[in-house]
Structures are given as C-alpha cells and as structure tokens.
C-alpha cells in the first residue's frame, strides 16, 4: 500500500468544501450568486469523479487511489489477555470496483440535486452549505477504507440531513427529521458497537485488512472467533445497515423522509443515502463474514421477498404519488437483498446494478414529482390527471422513468432485476419465483400511478401549466441518459465491479461448494 503521495481521493471527498467556503462569504440576500455557486460547486467533485472513473484500472481487484496517514494512536490494554497495544486510527482512503461507480453516482446525483434545488426559496445560503456538507459525508462513506473514518462520514450525513429535512421539508418536516435521527442514530450505534468489537479482536480498523484476516480461516485471530460471536457481529452489522437500506420492519422512518423532505433532498436520500446501507452490507456484512452471510442467506431472501411484495402491494394502494414511490423504493431495495441472497457473482452484480440503477431512477422520479408539485401544489394521484396535455415533456420523461423502474429491457432497471433474479434462481428457485411476482406488481402500480397522473381528462385548473424549464430539463435528460446508457451498455458498470466482486464471491461460493 503506498502512502500519502496520492491526494486525489481526498481532493474529491473534500472538494465540496470549496463551495461551502465561497457560499459562506456571500451575503444571504444574494440569492442568484448563492444558487450559482451552489450548483457550480458540485461540478468539481463531478469532474474529479469522472476523471477518476476514467483513470480507474478495471483489471485489478486491488484498492486504487489509496491514501494513508497516521491520525490517532492510543495505547490500550485488553482484559482477557492483559496485553497492551496501540489503538491506531488512521486516515485511510481507497476505492475499488464497487465503490468507484457509487462515487460517480453520488457525484452525478449530487449535481442533479443541486440543479433541482433551484426552486428552493428560503434560507438558500444555509441550504447549500448543508447540502455540500452532506455531499462530503456521502463521498467519504464510499471512499473510506477505515471503519472509524467510514463511521465518521456516515454520521456526517446524519446532521445535515436532519436540518435539510427539518427546515426545508413539507408540513410534518420536524416529525420526519426526528424519526430519521432516532432510527439512524440507533443504526449507527449498533454499527459502532460492531466496529469496536471487530477492532478489539482484530486490532486494526482497515477495511481491507479486516476482510483479508476474516476470510482466511487459518489466521489465528479468525480461528479464535467463535461462530456465535461471528454470527452476532454479522447480525449487528446487518441490522445497522438494514435500518439504512431500509429492510422491513425498519422502514417506517424512510417513508416519512420521502414524503416530507424537499424534492432535491429526496433525490439524494433515495438515490444515495439508502445505497450506503447496501454498500455497507456488501462490504462489511458479507465481506467480513461470508460464512455467516451464507448461512443467513435464506433469511436474506425471505426478507428480500417481504420487501419486494410488501412494498409493491402497499405502493398499489397509496393515494399520494410520493408514497407510491417511497414504497416502490422499499420494493426495489428488496431486490438488492435478493441479489445478495443469491450468494453468487451474478446475484451480487444484480444487487449492485440495482443500487446504481435505482439511484438514477429514483432520483429522476422524485425530481419529476418535485416539478409536478411545483406546478400543481399537489402530489395526490386523485387530484392530478391529464398532465400530458400541458406538460408533454415532463410526462414523457415520467413515463420513461416509470418504464425503467419496472424493468423495461434496454434500461438499467431491467439489467439489475434480470441479474438479481438470475442469480437467485440458481440457488433458491422457489423463493426467486415468489420474488419475481414483485416485477408484475411493480408494473401494475407504476403504470396505474403514471397513467392516472399524465393521461385522462385534464382538470381545468391544470390546463395552462408550464412545461419543463431549461434548468429542469438538464437533470431529466442527464439522469434518463444514464439509465439508458447502463441499460444498453451494462459493461460500463459490470467491468469495474466484476474484478472487485471476484475478491468476495469465491470465498462465499467456496463455502457453498
């Protein structure tokens, strides 16, 4: 591992700081300037992310752009052995084929969400400062190669999110913010518990090293861990990330946030923050404890099916467009679980494809709902209708997004669902068949929602609505472009992931034989 000569990744993670500093010095009444800096500021991480994605070496599973600096070192004594050793927390960053696409996803959705924040009207200065702070946290989560650092970035997303929901949200924003805080606080607490336990046993916080040690059964440290402790740690990590993902029954907070947060923040929340749960589950849950994950995989599949079907059925009965999409997110996160449960390369690929694909799709759909709300001041399906007449462009994009979400071939949603179910059919055909019902249900609820809003008779008050403005067209076209790009050229995601998954899959499949 080379040391701190390379600062590319740090520059990427902390690049939003530049925008924060500039915005901090702009008087808060200069709305225009703040908006411009707020949006342009996200271009810096975006450019860096693209550049790194281009410079990324697809042919290796090693971490790339690695950075390492000493940070905190404290001697610690252990009760059971009586030995003293240094407790070291280092500043360690690095990306592999799994985290690199997610960083790019974060940067893209970050920029699009910033554009979508164009219609924010109150307290713009604070909004963009918190927005960029949130961006630092999210980029850091995917770039961290150290559990402590991962935790800090993970928590760093918590505080700005609390404010962004609580100040700029809709009617019940404070309630939503509190619920978000408490649920995620518990999740973080459990995660911290597991991390420190791992540290106490492993004496390192480096994610790569921990994976290497834990997946080598002959290693003395690994051998000393009883199966019960491993299972406990795996379950702790699972619960911590399941709250974030969210897995039924830990999902209630997420519905509140989806409904109450402002559109641009929901884009980020649904597009990226939920993905931190999936990422953590793969990197730490399955990556650290493949054997336990394998034993647990049936339950993963069952939970996945519950998510898929529960989300789909409830999405069907919702009257609010936002609630439809919120439950749809729960349903789609179930597919991530199903992909993990497959415990093979194709399944994992499907899950990670789903993570990226759903990131783009949900960001697009929530952006569209924001646009519709902006014009009509409602998101109730019954009150809407016939929007296609006055807003043909928006309606068209909405339909396209819906198609991607229900998995139309040629779009990213298809690839991910196809891979996830293909992987699962190999191992649990019955469960996979049940889960596949979700695809049918998805088609039903999405088409119902989209058709009811865009077609049919137009209420008279919606006749003169303006179609998409230039600033709104950008996110729509860009996000849809990526959805189609992944759909027709999946190798762009598949190639980098494949090498990284090679480090996890053989171990997992090796256990299964």
């Amino acid at each position: 591992m080379d040391s701190g000569a390379n600062i590319l990744l740090s520059s990427l993670v902390f690049s939003p700081l530049l925008a924060i500093l500039i915005i901090a010095f702009i008087p808060s009444r200069r709305f225009g300037a703040i908006k411009q800096v707020g949006v342009l500021g996200t271009l810096l991480p975006l450019i860096l992310a693209f550049w790194m994605f281009g410079a990324f070496n697809y042919d290796t599973s090693n971490l790339q752009f690695v950075e390492r600096h000493d940070w905190i070192s404290i001697p610690i004594g252990l009760a059971q052995t009586g030995t003293v050793f240094a407790f070291e927390i280092n500043y360690e960053l690095g990306v592999d084929g799994i985290s690199m696409p997610l960083i790019l996803l974060t940067a893209i959705i970050g920029t699009m969400a910033a554009v979508a924040s164009w219609q924010i009207k109150k307290r713009l200065k604070e909004f963009f400062i918190l927005f960029h702070l949130l961006l630092i946290g999210m980029l850091g989560v995917f770039a961290a190669d150290n559990l402590f650092l991962f935790f800090i970035f993970f928590e760093l997303t918590l505080v700005p999110m609390y404010f962004l929901v609580g100040i700029w949200g809709y009617g019940e924003r404070e309630h939503a913010a509190n619920k978000f805080l408490l649920y995620n606080g518990i999740g973080s607490g459990i995660m911290l518990l597991a991390f420190i336990m791992i540290f106490v046993v492993m004496r390192t916080l480096n994610i790569d090293q921990i994976s290497a040690i834990l997946t080598t059964p002959e290693h003395p440290v690994t051998a000393a861990l009883t199966p019960a402790i491993r299972l406990g740690l795996f379950l702790a990590l699972f619960v911590a990330f399941a709250i974030k993902l969210p897995v039924f029954p830990f999902h209630t907070w997420m519905l509140k946030v989806h409904v109450q947060a402002p559109p641009s923040i929901v884009m980020i929340h649904s597009g990226i923050l939920l993905k931190m749960g999936a990422y953590g589950l793969l990197r730490m849950g399955i990556g650290f404890f493949p054997e336990q994950a394998y034993q647990f995989s049936t339950w993963l599949a069952v939970l996945g099916i519950i998510n898929v079907l529960y989300g789909a059925v409830l999405a069907f009965v919702q009257k609010d467009l936002k609630m439809v999409l919120a439950y749809s997110s729960i349903s789609h996160m179930g597919i991530v679980l199903l992909g993990f449960a497959a415990m093979n390369s194709i399944g994992f690929q499907g899950a990670m494809f789903q993570v990226v694909s759903h990131g783009f799709i949900s960001a697009l759909l929530f952006f569209l709902i924001g646009v519709i709300w902006d014009r009509t001041q409602t998101s109730m399906i019954d009150e809407l209708g016939g929007l296609a007449k006055s807003m043909p462009f928006v309606s068209g994009i909405f339909l396209a997004g819906g198609m991607a979400s229900l998995g139309l071939p040629g779009m990213s949603g298809f690839i991910s669902e196809f891979f996830a179910f293909l992987g699962l059919f190999g191992r649990m055909p019955v469960l996979a068949a049940v889960g596949a019902l979700g695809i049918v249900l998805t088609a039903v609820y999405l088409l119902r929602a989209i058709l009811r809003t865009t077609f049919g008779p137009t209420p008279s008050r919606f006749t003169g609505l303006a179609d998409a403005q230039p600033m709104e067209v950008i996110p729509m076209v860009v996000l849809l472009g990526f959805i189609i790009l992944i759909g027709v050229y999946p190798a762009i995601l598949g190639n980098p992931m494949q090498q990284a998954l090679k480090t996890i899959v053989p171990i997992v499949t090796g256990i299964g034989g």
């Binding site: 940070w71 905190i72 070192s73 404290i74 001697p75 610690i76 004594g77 252990l78 009760a79 059971q80 009586g82 003293v84 407790f87 935790f151 800090i152 928590e155 760093l156 918590l158 505080v159 609390y162 404010f163 609580g166 100040i167 924003r173 404070e174 913010a177 509190n178 805080l181 408490l182 606080g185 518990i186 607490g189 459990i190 911290l192 518990l193 420190i196 336990m197 540290f199 106490v200």
Partner: protein, 508 residues
C-alpha cells in the same frame, strides 16, 4: 511515617494552592477595606489572574515532577493524578470567572466581591481534594468546596428560587457528607488510620480477618456519599433544583469543577482503599465493587437521559444531562484498566469545553428572553447565527456526534467498555445516547426551525462572544485531533505511579 520539620519540605510544589489561597485572602481583605469605591469587576479580573498564575505553576509541576512528592505524612500529595485534575479545575474556574465577568454586571448578585473569592475557595477545596492521600485532608477539601458552593448557589439573595435551591443543596449536601463520613468512620474503625495508602493494606487484612461485611458496608456508604458530588444516581436528586436556581456561571462551575473534583475524590478513595481487599479468590474492587459502580453508571445514564426528555427548563435539562454524563464517566471504572485515567481526563476535558460553551450561550439567551424555558431558544439562528451554530456544536458534542471532542470522549469510553467485555454497559450507553439525541436536538430544533418572538439581532457581550467562539472551535479541533490531548496525558501523566507504585503496570 516520620514527621519532618516543616522547613525541610520543598514547598514550591504547593505554589498553585498557595497562590489561590493568597488571592482569596487578599481579595477578601480588599473587598472589605476598599469599600464602595472599588469596582467589583476588578476583583473578578484579579481572581482570574490568580487562577492563571496557579495554572502556570501546575504546568511547571507537571514538567518538574518525576515522582509523587508528599507533605507531612501524605496529608498533601503532589502527583500526576492530582495535577491532571487540577488543570481541569483551574481551567473550569477560569471559564466560570470569565462568564461571570459579564454576567454579574447586571447586578443580580449583590455581593460581587464575595462571589469571586468564594469561587477561589471552592477551587482551593477542589485542589486539596485532588491532591491529598489522607481521609482528613480529603474531607477538609470536600467541605471547603461544598461550603463555597452552597453560598455561591444562594448568592442571588433576592431570588426565591435561588434561596430555595441553596437550601436544598445545603440539606442534601449535608446528608451526603454525613453518609460519606459514616463510611469513613467504618474505614477508620477497621484500620485505625486515615492514610489511604495504609488503609489499602489494613483494609485487606481486616477483610481477611472476618470483617468482610463491614468492609463492604464501608464501600457502599463511601460510594453513595461521594456519588452526591458527581451527581450520579442514587444521589442525583439535588442537581435539577440546584442547577436551575443557581446563577448560571455557578451552575457551570458545579457541572464541571465540582463534578470533576468529585471524580478525583471518588476514585482515589475507593480505588486505593479497596484495591487490595479480596474475598479469598478475587479482588473485591474489581469484582463486586466495580459492579456496584457499574450499576450506579447504568442508573445514572438511564435516569439522566430519560428524565431530560421531559424537561422544559433548559437548566434543568442540562442538570439531567449532567447526571447522564456522570453515568458515562463511571463506565471506565467497571473495572478500571490502565486506560481509565486517559479516558476520564479526556472526557472531562471535552466536557469542560462543551459545558462552559453551552452555559455561556444559555446565560445570554435566558437573560435576554427573561425565561429559562427551552422555547426561549426559538429562532436564535436568525438573531445570532454564530451563537446558534456554536450552541449546536456544543449540543452535538454532548450527544456524541462526530467530529467533536464529546464524540471521541464517548468513543474512547465505549472502546474501553468493550475491551473489558462489558457488553451490558456498552449497550446501555448506546441506547441512552440515542435517547439523548432527542432532547439535545430539541434545542437545535428551536434554534433553527421555530419562529422566535423577535427577529432583532441578539446582543452578545464581546467577552462571551469570544469565549463561545473559541470553545466551539476547540470542541471541533479536539474532536478531529484528540491525539493531542491523549498524547499529552500519556507522556506527562503516568497514572500508575500516582497510586504509590502499588498498582502493577498492567492492573486489570
């Protein structure tokens, strides 16, 4: 134990104490004879000079001392353990005086002169507590601090609430003192000495000789009595009333200096006295004794954090928060490891920064609003963004969210607890910390999300503004670089020798 001629001691190590004593005496005389002509602000500034001077000499001691130096048969013992705590006391008192300098202008406290030198005598008491190895000097220090605090709490003579809380404080403090003394009498009865390093051996002998039950009784009484000063359960009930009634800088003084002093005393007395006691197979302190402290910790965390949820008065809420913090601080002693000293000092250091920052903001806001209700914070962000942001940083630190000193403090304690396989305490810490988010964020919610009664900019005294700003910066700085403090503690304070070299370097 030979009694030497008093001139044969090197008294320079006691300079910090002498300075504080001297300043307290001179200032009280000055106050007495200068009459009305002398502005009482001067006394405040002079007392601050005294505190700073004493701090300098403590630092000198830290650098000069390579082994404990004791006076008169260990009546006073200058060692790293005490020095580390003294730095915290001095820092806390300095902050308290700084806040007071702009607080007392408004004439709420009529006896301003007394106010400052009572704080100095309280500080002196705390310093004596931290650096004595004899039950008698310990007790004298404890009483000096307590009596000063009783008066300080009641100094707002015309405020009914202040009177009431001072009265409650005296009564409950008196009871706690009696309980402590009762415990000490058991110890003396069993050992025939007041010197705690001798007690350590004789108590073990007494335990082996069949007086086990009495030894346990002594422990229980001492622990319960001393829990009062740190406002830990089961002796925490006074805190909400007293915190609420006392002038705000005094509340901060109680929350930090008095609590830290209580900790220094609790651990020196309990740990050393009961270190060698064993029940035949195991060491009592590391088994039953620390389990008892663990129960105290758990009860304090649970009571403090859940009761804080229901408070509408911000000072009462801080009192319950303080009870919870006392609970967290007890965790590293269950049972203590070589790390406990570093953990406690770091946590107290972080708590010092955060508490004074938070109380300074609370003071400004409550004074301006004329109410201590949490609602008074509504809309603070629009009136004074810096105050609101600083307060948010303090609250995040209290809640234990990175990157703040409070987060690392808690992380450190948490790690120690897990390394000791104390899963139940770790679990309680996690759950209660998450509960605490709710009430800490309650203030944040008021500041940013609720409309206030006015939009006019909040007038903040320059001194307070600077202090709050610096403390907020330090809270974040030491959250990002906690190593600076832990390294200093590690290099300059070697806790194992402070216990008279009796603890093996790696005691469990």
């Amino acid at each position: 134990m030979d009694v030497k001629d008093i001139f044969s001691y090197d008294w320079s190590y006691l300079l910090p104490e002498f300075i504080i004593l001297g300043f307290a005496t001179i200032l009280s005389l000055l106050d007495l004879f200068a009459g009305k002509r002398l502005g009482r602000q001067v006394i405040g500034w002079l007392s601050l000079v005294g505190v700073v001077l004493a701090t300098v000499f403590v630092f000198v001691n830290v650098n000069v001392l390579d082994k404990p130096y004791s006076y008169m048969a260990d009546m006073i013992r200058i060692d790293d353990y005490g020095n580390a705590f003294k730095l915290l006391f001095l820092g806390g008192t300095a902050f308290a005086i700084l806040i007071s300098l702009s607080y007392l202008k408004k004439g709420e406290v009529t006896h301003t002169g007394e106010y400052y030198y009572l704080m100095l005598t309280g500080l002196l008491g705390a310093m004596v507590m931290a650096s004595s190895a004899d039950l008698i000097t310990l007790f004298v220090g404890l009483e000096l601090l307590s009596l000063s605090s009783y008066v300080l709490v009641g100094l707002r003579k015309k405020s009914l609430q202040s009177n009431e809380s001072a009265f409650k404080y005296v009564v409950s403090g008196g009871i706690a003192t009696a309980v402590t003394l009762f415990g000490m009498s058991y110890v003396y009865g069993l050992t025939g000495t007041t010197h705690i390093y001798e007690i350590s051996f004789r108590l073990a002998e007494a335990g082996m000789a069949g007086y086990q039950f009495l030894v346990y009784m002594a422990f229980a009484f001492l622990a319960v009595g001393l829990a009062f000063k740190i406002s830990a359960a089961p002796n925490h009930m006074w805190a909400p009333d007293v915190y609420q009634g006392a002038p705000t800088p005094v509340t901060a003084f109680l929350a930090v200096v008095s609590k830290a002093a209580g900790f220094s005393l609790l651990f020196r007395v309990l740990l050393i006295s009961f270190f060698n006691v064993n029940d035949g197979a195991n060491r009592f302190f590391f088994q039953e004794g620390s389990l008892y402290l663990g129960l105290m910790a758990a009860a304090s965390m649970i009571i403090g954090n859940t009761m804080a949820l229901r408070q509408t008065n911000v000072k009462r809420m801080m009192a319950y928060s303080g009870i919870a913090q006392a609970g967290y601080l007890l965790v590293p002693f269950v049972p203590p490891t070589t790390l406990f000293f570093g953990e406690v000092i770091f946590y107290l250091f972080g708590y010092l920064l955060v508490s004074f920052g938070a109380f300074a903001v609370i003071m400004v806001v409550t004074r301006e609003q004329g109410t201590e209700e949490i609602k008074g914070f509504a809309g603070l962000y629009h009136r004074s963004p810096i105050m609101a942001i600083a307060m948010s940083i303090f609250l995040l630190s209290l809640a234990g969210i990175p990157v703040t000193a409070g987060f690392f403090g808690k992380f450190y304690l948490f790690m120690g607890a897990l390394a000791q396989e104390n899963y139940w305490l770790a679990a309680i810490m996690i759950v209660t910390s998450v509960i605490s988010y709710y009430y800490y964020f309650g203030i944040i919610r008021q500041m940013y999300m609720r409309p206030g009664t006015s939009e006019a900019p909040l007038a903040v005294p320059k001194g307070i503004w600077t202090l709050v700003f610096v403390l907020a910066l330090l809270t974040v700085f030491f959250g990002a670089f906690p190593g600076l403090v832990t390294d200093y503690v590690q290099i300059h304070f070697n806790p194992s020798f402070d216990f008279g070299n009796m603890l093996p370097p790696n005691f469990q």
